[in-house]
């Protein structure tokens, strides 16, 4: 009896595995045409799944800049929802890839600010992974204070420069 069950289970698992591997094998074609119309046309083949088109239309996904407090790398609560939707995108689209570009304001050492930018990038990466995104989809690059979006020496401007930009390199 026991042995029979074991055989049955093994057989079932094998079938499942074969089925699975078949499905996996069927996935690549859409990847090849990932950027062409058919994929977006088929749209909600699976309801509730993100597609590349949503990056331009979904209000949450369009939020691609995360701001930080001075000398801090802690994620502010207001960015939690953005973390959740970008993590869901990464889950829904396993072939997608993103670069997190960490930045700092101009105050203090350029060398230290490179470290600070990386820390901020890592903080966003951790939050995405905590929400189910895969680390293998994420690359962190730090630009330190080298790529300001705003060049005045004021708190207003500094706040805009202390940021991580989410850049999708593969949609």
């Amino acid at each position: 009896m026991n042995a029979t069950t074991r055989i049955l289970i093994t057989a079932l698992m094998c079938t499942a595995a074969v089925a699975c591997s078949k499905k996996v094998k069927e996935v690549p074609p859409p990847m090849d045409t990932g950027t062409t119309a058919p994929v977006t046309d088929t749209g909600p083949t699976t309801p509730g799944m993100y597609g590349p088109g949503d990056l331009d239309t979904d209000a949450c996904l369009r939020q691609r800049v995360v701001y930080f407090d001075f000398d801090q790398d802690a994620l502010r609560p207001e960015f939690q929802s953005a973390m959740a939707c970008h993590a869901k995108y990464l889950r829904d689209r396993p072939s997608s890839r993103m670069t997190l570009e960490g930045n700092a304001d101009e105050r203090g050492s350029r060398e230290y600010n490179l470290g600070l930018g990386e820390r901020r990038g890592n903080a966003v990466s951790s939050a995405l992974q905590a929400n189910g995104g895969s680390g293998s989809q994420i690359t962190v690059v730090s630009y330190g204070e080298e790529r300001p979006t705003c060049t005045a020496s004021s708190e207003d401007c500094w706040a805009k420069n202390r940021r991580v930009e989410i850049v999708y390199t593969e949609k």
């Binding site: 203090g108 060398e111 230290y112 470290g115 990386e118 962190v140 060049t151």
Partner: protein, 441 residues
């Protein structure tokens, strides 16, 4: 009648503008002396006329020497208009004249032909009170090296009077930036210590930072973002040949040549966290020096090559630490100020200058350990001063500051008494690094 006159006037204007244009090209940086000092030594550097038979040199040798000595903060040059006598050799010196003018020292000289279009500068230094000749030398150079000769004479005078080697005949490296966004342009430059003879080492559309001199003054290591991520290059200044030495995942920054030139300290975050490493430049083998949570970066070598000073926020806020070049535990060095960054170490290892932050004010501060208990002094007024770099004789510190939305360089004497601004004609100047002493070839 009117026409030829106008033509003549415009010709005259054109001719008189020519030297100015030539000067502007030769001179990339402009120097203003911000502070002054009453206790500086009065010295008269008398004009050194050309007494040859060919074309006179373009360089005013005495003028260059006077400007050098003024900038040091240690000397106060007598303005040329106050020189009632113009001796060019020792037997023409009339001591009472210079005593009345309250001069402690007097420099006289002349320029003669040296053959092959070269010149020979003969000069003498006198102690006015003792009526004694302290120096009497001659130097020969090609026409295009007359500024080098003048700087070397300044060095000799400085050393004879103060007992400290002069650092006028040295070079500085810095980064210029212009444009915004995708139109940004960056250049790594090298110039004489007084800002003349600027030379482009490398240009890039992406940010360049942290230039570091090799001990022989022939190469620069620097960080470039041209590959998208930070990476470290070493470039030969005269040939332009360059080598990519670090392009690991994560941060590649903060290069610093060891005193023997065989190793390069750097910051790498390939292990997940910014740590200090030392690369053997022959084998490219890496040795990890720090291993601690927190950002460890901006390493510089102690003069004996046995240890590294670096900044770390392992204790919460960025402070300066010292660690053996072979690794192991680090000792905290800075205990004043909530933010100490970008250390630079004097040739004798006794002084460390840093960018010190306090609220929104960042100033250059110096920790002096030569007199027993460590003593801090502030060298700059702020508010966004950074990247200090000692002259090889530690008499001055070069640093970057912001004026409006533009970066400028300042050089300040180590006693904070004289500060001068080095301004590039256009764009932003930053990331200064003072080169080593130059060698006679």
């Amino acid at each position: 009648m009117e026409r030829p006159l106008r033509w003549l006037v415009s010709l005259f204007m054109f001719v008189s503008l020519l030297p100015v244009a030539a000067m502007a090209q030769e001179r990339g940086l402009e120097i203003d002396i911000v502070g002054g000092t009453a206790s500086a030594l009065p010295i008269a550097v008398v004009p050194m006329p050309y007494q040859g038979s060919g074309a006179a040199p373009a360089t005013d040798v005495a003028g260059v020497i006077r400007a050098d000595l003024d900038r040091s903060g240690q000397f106060r040059g007598l303005p040329e208009r106050d020189m009632v006598e113009r001796p060019t050799r020792g037997n023409e010196v009339n001591y009472p004249t210079w005593r009345v003018l309250k001069q402690d020292f007097l420099v006289v000289g002349r320029v003669v032909d040296a053959g092959d279009g070269g010149y020979r500068v003969e000069y003498e230094l006198f102690d006015v009170a003792k009526q004694q000749r302290l120096l009497g030398f001659a130097m020969t150079a090609r026409a295009n090296a007359m500024r080098d000769v003048a700087h070397q004479i300044s060095d000799a005078i400085y050393e004879k009077v103060l007992g400290v080697r002069g650092a006028f005949w040295t070079r500085i490296a810095y980064v210029t930036a212009s444009g915004v966004g995708s139109g940004s342009r960056y250049a790594l430059m090298v110039a004489d210590s007084d800002g003349y003879n600027p030379q482009t080492v490398v240009r890039s559309g992406e940010s360049l930072l942290s230039p570091a001199w090799s001990p022989d003054g022939r190469k620069l290591a620097y960080v470039s973002f041209e590959r998208g991520n930070s990476s470290i290059y070493i470039q030969d200044i005269s040939s332009g040949a360059r080598e990519l030495v670090a392009a690991f995942r994560g941060i590649n920054s903060g290069p610093a040549f060891s005193p023997d030139g065989r190793s390069l300290a750097m910051t790498l975050s390939k292990g997940g966290n910014p740590e200090i490493y030392v690369m053997d430049l022959g084998s490219k083998a890496l040795r990890q020096v720090t291993n601690q949570m927190g950002i460890d970066t901006a390493a510089v070598w102690s003069p004996d090559g046995g240890s590294l000073y670096f900044m770390s926020d392992r204790g919460g806020r960025p402070q300066i630490y010292q660690v053996s070049a072979n690794g192991g535990g680090a000792t905290r060095v800075s205990f004043e100020g909530s933010y100490n960054a970008d250390p630079t170490v004097s040739y004798d290892g006794k002084k460390i200058a840093v960018a010190q932050g306090n609220g929104n004010n960042y100033r250059i501060a110096m920790l002096d350990r030569s007199l027993g208990s460590p003593r801090w002094s502030t060298l700059s007024p702020g508010s966004l001063d950074e990247s200090p770099s000692f002259a090889p004789n530690a008499s001055m510190v070069l640093y970057a500051a912001r004026e409006g939305s533009r970066g400028v360089l300042y050089a300040v004497s180590a006693d904070a008494r004289v500060r001068q601004r080095l301004v590039l004609a256009d764009g932003d100047v930053r990331e200064p690094a003072w080169g080593p002493y130059r060698q006679q070839r």
